[in-house]
């Protein structure tokens, strides 16, 4: 027994510290992304970012488990088409001054989503796509849409779909921006809540492994799997059963509750920075709006 624990202990020191996953010295965001990819490859041998970006659904764990998430079946196909249709209506709506969302983004919004969240050097804050949409409304004298509302999640999904297949290209190009990235990373690796979990505990250290209990009366296969941190952002916002759409930050909140922590509120600086860091991890990977398994 002692030997077993000692072995576990050593292994833990060698590979498992969420806080030592990232280089401690001053590094660029890209160097940190690459070191995280290395850490993940150690845990998921024989796989790489090309597999991870497809989501747990397409990912066969190193121990041969076929893991699954929400299937792309007829119901979900209908749901996502309906959702995007509603989102398009919201996007196309003419403001009182005759303008619309497409006036607020370069290239009428095509390929804009792949660059969000952005660091705004003027206000020195991270601007998520949702906040950019609300800034657009405010700029044109329209009332903002509540974060987390059904309307916002559908609008967000449509705005993302204008970048379908586009590679994520989040920029961290100044020291001030790197501070926000670092703050997001710090939250990602910090233990929180009664369960004492860090995001990295599940999405890096135990990524790609089943976690949680199957719903009563379902097969054990329905157990959820810890998504792999690199590649998650391509499929945000996510389509859930019954046509529910969850924004990135609503997904963060759900996992904070899973850790037994009181979640930060939508649009808070904490969650904006976390979304900035987390999205950057998927740089170079093509966007798959609503992320159901295909």
């Amino acid at each position: 027994m002692f030997r077993y624990l000692a072995g576990v202990c050593l292994a833990a020191f060698a590979f498992s510290s969420p806080s030592t996953l990232f280089a401690q010295s001053a590094t660029t965001a890209e160097q940190e992304r690459l070191s995280l990819i290395k850490a993940l490859q150690k845990r998921l041998p024989g796989t790489g970012p090309g597999d991870w970006q497809l989501g747990p659904a397409a990912f066969a764990g190193s121990d041969g488990d076929i893991v699954q998430s929400i299937p792309f079946n007829d119901e979900n196909a209908t749901n996502s088409a309906d959702i995007l249709a509603i989102g398009k209506k919201l996007w196309d709506r003419k403001f009182k001054n005759g303008k619309s969302f497409s006036h607020c983004f370069a290239n009428s919004g095509k390929q804009a989503a792949a660059t969000y969240p952005q660091f705004d050097a003027r206000t020195k804050v991270v601007v998520t796509l949702e906040i950019a949409l609300n800034r657009c409304l405010a700029l044109h004298g329209e009332s903002e849409i509540e974060l987390g509302s059904e309307a916002m999640s559908r609008l967000l999904a449509y705005a993302r779909s204008l970048s379908e297949g586009q590679r994520m290209a989040i920029k961290v190009s100044s020291a001030a921006a790197k501070e926000k990235f670092d703050a997001g990373q710090a939250l990602f690796t910090r233990r929180i809540g009664q369960n004492n979990f860090a995001c990295a505990s599940c999405h890096v250290l135990h990524a790609g492994k089943p976690f949680g209990q199957a719903e009563p009366g379902t097969r054990e296969r329905s157990q959820p799997v810890n998504p792999i941190a690199v590649g998650q952002a391509v499929s945000w916002p996510r389509l859930e059963p019954k046509g529910l759409v969850l924004s990135p930050q609503a997904l963060f909140q759900r996992c904070m509750q899973r850790s037994g922590a009181e979640p930060f509120i939508l649009g808070s600086e904490e969650l904006n920075n976390l979304e900035y860091f987390y999205s950057f991890l998927s740089n170079g990977m093509p966007i798959r709006t609503l992320g159901t398994a295909r």
Binding site: V8, C9, A12, K209, P210, G260
Partner: protein, 123 residues
């Protein structure tokens, strides 16, 4: 004192008394195993099957491999205190463990921990 003097046990022969006590003790232990199993599975309490497989309990169908399968616990942890410490706060021996510190963070009360221990020792 008066209460004790009035208990019917005083009039029973010692062997019957022993049997009664044994039966009571056994059912109490069983109750605690059942209670421990309930806490083990409860997603708001132990939620242990979220991370562990339990090959010795065929009704628990977990395919989790985050933690090791819980087998022969009684044999491998002959000292309850060592096993208890694992549940109370595994972080003291495995600093970066993902297993929640059930005692330190009061996810389980001390008596609930004992019940869960009785259950896993029975595996």
């Amino acid at each position: 004192m008066a209460l004790v003097a009035k208990t019917p046990c005083r009039s029973l022969p010692p062997s019957t008394l022993l049997l009664l006590v044994t039966l009571l003790w056994m059912s109490a232990a069983q109750a605690s195993v059942a209670e421990g199993r309930r806490l083990f599975l409860d997603p708001k309490k132990g939620n242990c099957a979220a991370c562990h497989q339990v090959p010795g309990d065929s009704e628990i169908k977990s395919r989790s491999k985050i933690g090791p399968p819980l087998v022969e616990i009684g044999k491998r942890f002959p000292e309850r205190n060592v096993l208890r410490a694992t549940l109370w706060d595994l972080g003291t021996t495995v600093p970066d463990t993902i297993m929640p510190p059930y005692g330190r963070h009061r996810l389980l009360t001390e008596s609930e921990i004992d019940a869960v221990l009785s259950y896993i020792e029975s595996l």
